[in-house]
């Protein structure tokens, strides 16, 4: 097997990784200027709120968080995977240099926060001070997102959400058509089986993951069977938003994130449902 090409970080010698090409990172940094980067960092981190300071000024670098992270444990205790290192190599450096970092640095930050942290909150549980490490990771994600440096597939899902309010570019007609098709399909086996669309006053509103009507049809089939067997008065929304996933939340694209949640809540209010059941 060929020896894989490695990259060594220019700023942090202990950060050694395999090359993993991604247009979203490699190409998008080409348009960045030092001014743009500095301006963005200052806009996001400029007003140092109590929440940011609570983490950055309380952390004593004890490293207890490292053993909480599956990335650190899975890579034979490589310290560059420790949660505290992820903060040190990104936000701390940005603040230390007062936002004067280059595009290559931003690319490395994006790789760390978008592909080496799952925002699983396990590190916060093992931190003796209970610091919200993932909040800091989220801030760095925000910086990278505003600069447009995000792995391509994640950015694509965010664009899908911004455009169609679901993560799989599914239009409203396709969504309705899929639901009706499934109603027919499963209804061939069961008496009076319905997938009620936009039923006002239903007890339960069920919201799938965007990928279910696109590639995971069997989930809809199973859900219809379960609801039918249990005799639930249920419905799915006929209008956007019906996708319960929220990629913009992970990217810290707050505008789109809020549109999705708002849309889900508006559907719930419009249909006067009692329970919102989400797959994600």
């Amino acid at each position: 097997m060929a020896v894989k090409e490695k990259i060594v970080s220019r700023d942090f010698k202990e950060y050694v990784r395999e090359v993993n090409p991604d247009v979203g990172l490699d190409e998008s940094i080409k348009g960045l200027t030092p001014e743009k980067i500095e301006k963005t960092i200052k806009a996001v981190l400029g007003a140092r709120t109590a929440r940011i300071r609570a983490v950055l000024e309380t952390c004593i670098h004890c490293g207890l968080c490292s053993k909480a992270c599956q990335w650190y444990l899975s890579n034979d205790g490589d310290p560059s995977y420790a949660p505290v290192a992820k903060m040190r190599m990104t936000i701390w450096e940005m603040l230390k240099r007062d936002g004067k970092v280059d595009a290559e640095f931003i690319k490395q930050c994006a790789r760390i926060v978008f592909t080496e942290c799952n925002i699983c909150h396990r590190c916060s549980m093992y931190c003796p001070y209970g610091l919200d490490v993932t909040f800091i990771i989220g801030l760095v994600r925000r910086v990278c997102f505003v600069l447009g440096v995000v792995p391509q597939r994640q950015m694509d899902q965010d664009h899908a959400h911004a455009t169609t309010l679901n993560q799989v570019w599914l239009g409203q007609n396709d969504w309705l058509d899929t639901m009706q098709w499934q109603e027919e399909e499963v209804g061939a086996e069961y008496k009076d089986l319905r997938i009620p669309i936009d039923k006002e006053g239903a007890e339960v509103m069920w919201l799938p993951l965007g990928a279910e009507p696109k590639t995971g049809i069997y989930h809809i089939e199973r859900t219809a069977k379960i609801m039918h067997a249990a005799g639930i008065d249920w419905t799915v929304p006929g209008k956007d938003v019906w996708d319960s996933s929220n990629m913009p939340m992970f990217l810290r694209d707050f505008a789109t994130m809020q549109r999705i949640v708002r849309g889900l809540f508006d559907n719930a209010i419009r249909l006067r449902i009692k329970k919102m059941v989400l797959t994600e």
């Binding site: 991604d22 799952n118 909150h121 792995p151 990928a211 379960i226 039918h228 067997a229 009692k274």
Partner: protein, 159 residues
């Protein structure tokens, strides 16, 4: 945040909903999965929303042979597809390498089936199983329920 002080409806994940259905007797379990199973705890639903006992009730009611991963519940490890990493298919090997502990956890349980209540976990666990060649199956919550629940004959066409 969105202008509602108190929401006029409940919000729950499907796993919690299934728990309610079983607990209230609206769904009856008539069969049990015989294969040895284990359960992947989804970070956000367990660690942040506290549904761990409900999921255990679900698995114990539907499966005969359930072994916990260690650590579990609030101390579980992420599937490595959370936090928006699920869609990163061009980073799949990088992600699976970064979750060797999950592969070991699954191996140690000796289970043949890993039950996942969350779609992100499903993606992550599939990647881990494939990369580390674990030879186990990943099954979603709804599939377990459809296989084990009672569907009254009177509901079927032609009966």
């Amino acid at each position: 945040m969105l202008g509602y002080k108190e929401l006029p409806f409940e919000i729950m994940q499907t796993g919690e909903f299934y728990y309610d259905l079983m607990k209230s007797g609206r769904i009856k379990i008539v069969r049990k999965i015989k294969d040895p199973v284990t359960l992947q705890d989804p970070c956000n639903i367990i660690r942040r929303a506290g549904a761990s006992e409900k999921f255990r009730y679900f698995v114990n009611a539907t499966c005969e042979n359930f072994t916990e991963m260690t650590p579990n519940k609030e101390h579980n490890f992420c599937c490595n597809a959370g936090g928006g990493l699920a869609g990163l298919s061009n980073w799949a090997a990088h992600k699976a390498r970064g979750n060797r502990v999950k592969a070991q956890q699954i191996k140690e349980t000796g289970a043949k089936v890993v039950i996942t209540p969350c779609h992100n976990c499903s993606t992550g666990i599939k990647d881990v199983i494939k990369y580390w060649d674990l030879g186990v199956k990943n099954v979603f919550f709804d599939e377990i329920l459809v296989q084990t629940m009672d569907i009254p004959e009177t509901l079927k066409v032609g009966k």
